[in-house]
């Protein structure tokens, strides 16, 4: 009985560590994406942010950042898709909505 409980506890801890790692990895990739964006290395920024979206596909922040990078590259259609996705995940994202309005028109 005690042995079973110990095993469950170990499983839970492993799962928490896994989630933590995943979250940390996504945060790191977003930071890297921002870093490349600030240095006008747009293609590298897109690569990192796309990698992040593969791990966490429901993170509005990733799509907002992708939108800004695409817009900076003068790719309004791609940018608008990303802002739309960011707003689907977080309807209160003010910057995403400001940028989307600028591209699509109010």
């Amino acid at each position: 009985m005690v042995q079973d409980e110990k095993r469950d506890f170990a499983k839970l801890e492993a799962r928490i560590a896994q989630i933590k790692n995943r979250k940390q990895k996504v945060e790191k990739l977003i930071e890297l994406g921002k870093f490349y964006f600030l240095n006008e290395k747009y293609d590298e920024a897109i690569e990192k942010l796309k990698e992040a979206s593969k791990i966490d596909e429901k993170n509005a922040e990733i799509y907002y950042n992708l939108g800004v990078v695409y817009e900076s590259k003068n790719l309004p259609d791609d940018a608008s898709q990303m802002y739309t996705r960011a707003l689907e995940l977080n309807p209160g994202h003010q910057l995403a909505s400001k940028h989307l309005e600028k591209i699509v028109g109010k």
């Binding site: 600030l38 006008e40 747009y42 800004v68 990078v69 590259k73 910057l95």
Partner: protein
């Protein structure tokens, strides 16, 4: 600063009135619809609910002292013609009228409009141009041969300075300005960018990914540059 009267506060008229007010002009906005007048009253100098075809009302509002009139009641052709005529009779020098068809425009010119605009036609043409040539962001035709164009920087230019590209010698055009996007982080740590325009850029200016070039030259040479 000039004083303008905007007659008719639909989407077009209200946009003109707002933009004029933002540029510091004194704006008198008139419409028969109370709601429309209310919506714009905080932005313009004075917003009045009135019949813009009534000369007495217009005189009482001081319309005859205005420098320019924008007649934006296009959908109601009869009203727009009558108001344009009234503006002419009140002695307003610049009368801009919105037309919805070529024949409407002809009549507006005949009754005193100094400039007739066709927002729907012009928007349609611009939309078609932008769809046919997505790399052209703005096109100003200077003559049948010469144009000023806003184009996305060709990939082969990215990372090079204007001196290295030497567009005048190599491509026969001039880059008269560069529109740049400057990435930054907001106070909350969010990515964003500011737009900056460099007029007559320095030869050492480097072209970056996402730059928009404002190019002056013959249409033929600009087309060649676009195909790079």
């Amino acid at each position: 600063m000039i004083q303008c009267v905007v007659l008719g506060l639909g989407i077009f008229g209200a946009s003109v009135a707002r933009a004029l007010a933002e540029k510091g002009c004194e704006v008198l906005a008139i419409d028969e619809d109370e709601e429309k007048v209310k919506e714009i009253s905080d932005v313009v100098t004075q917003a009045v609910q009135a019949d813009a075809t009534d000369e007495k009302v217009l005189r009482a509002l001081g319309v005859d002292k205005m420098d320019a009139a924008i007649v934006s009641t296009g959908e109601d052709m009869e009203a727009s013609i009558l108001i344009t005529l009234l503006m002419k009779e009140l002695g307003i020098k610049t009368i801009v009228a919105k037309a919805i068809s070529p024949s409407h425009g002809t009549v507006l010119r005949k009754v005193g409009a100094t400039r007739v605009v066709f927002p729907e036609r012009d928007t349609g043409v611009r939309l078609a141009e932008s769809l046919a040539a997505p790399d052209i962001l703005e096109h100003i035709s200077l003559s049948p041969e010469y144009s000023i164009l806003e184009v996305r920087a060709p990939k082969s230019f990215i990372g090079s300075t204007l001196r290295e590209i030497d567009v005048r010698a190599k491509h026969g055009v001039d880059i008269i300005a560069i529109k740049k996007k400057l990435p930054y982080l907001t106070d909350a740590g969010e990515s964003d960018f500011k737009e900056e325009i460099l007029i007559t850029p320095n030869a050492d200016e480097e072209i970056a990914d996402g730059d928009i070039l404002v190019v002056l030259g013959t249409n033929r040479k600009i087309d060649k540059l676009r195909s790079l």
